[in-house]
Symmetry: C2
Subunit: 128 residues, 2 copies
């Protein structure tokens, strides 16, 4: 699979895919005879994982470190686990903040809704 198809499938631009590869965020993808990337299943899984982590806001630097550890094999399992645990907690904390903000937005929207209603009611006597 060429880069354009992968780009299409995951909604990540080719530029970004190449960028991820050159900074070590995804492992080097094999090339065909003429130097063109040929993504195979394992590459796709990696892309999908990174896409997922990035969409949740995990920083690139942390992910690079994680990917680096993965490449070093089983002896880094403990370290990887620690990274994931830390990021999990940070993510949960961000979500908690967002939950609060969501509540405030809902509240404000409710207030505006009733303000609009009230205005409309005031309109009735005058009728347009």
């Amino acid at each position: 699979m060429k880069i354009a198809e992968v780009s299409e499938r995951y909604g990540i631009s080719s530029d970004t895919l190449r960028y991820y590869e050159r900074i070590g965020l995804i492992q080097p993808v094999n090339r065909n005879g003429s130097g063109i990337r040929d993504y195979v299943e394992v590459d796709m899984r990696r892309v999908e994982f990174i896409k997922c982590m990035r969409s949740a806001g995990l920083p690139i630097e942390v992910l690079i470190e994680y990917v680096g550890l993965v490449q070093q094999g089983d002896r880094t399992i403990e370290a990887r686990k620690e990274i994931l645990k830390e990021q999990r907690e940070l993510l949960a904390a961000r979500m908690k903040e967002m939950q609060i903000t969501l509540g405030i937005l809902d509240h404000k929207i409710g207030v505006y809704e009733s303000a609009v209603l009230k205005k409309e009611q005031e309109m009735i006597p005058g009728e347009d």
Copy 2:
């Protein structure tokens, strides 16, 4: 209240508070005789609101627009409501993605945990 105290109270740097003011994200704060900002309650509430919205990732540009509408009075209520509703949906969508990522992280952490356990069990025969 001077800027340093507000900064302290909300965990926002003085630079950022001034920055927010000059880009119109918070309304101008009154100054004392010698030009120094004197934050009063309404200013604090605004700062807190912005802090909350920013912590959830609402873009500055959108918030500037919203604040601008607030300053124009009641006739902008409908527009403000629409902005909040849109941002509410975007926020909910981001949280949903994060929820998925959280699940994947938890799963992966679980896998690593059992990998570590297995390794430790393999250790027992050899004993250190």
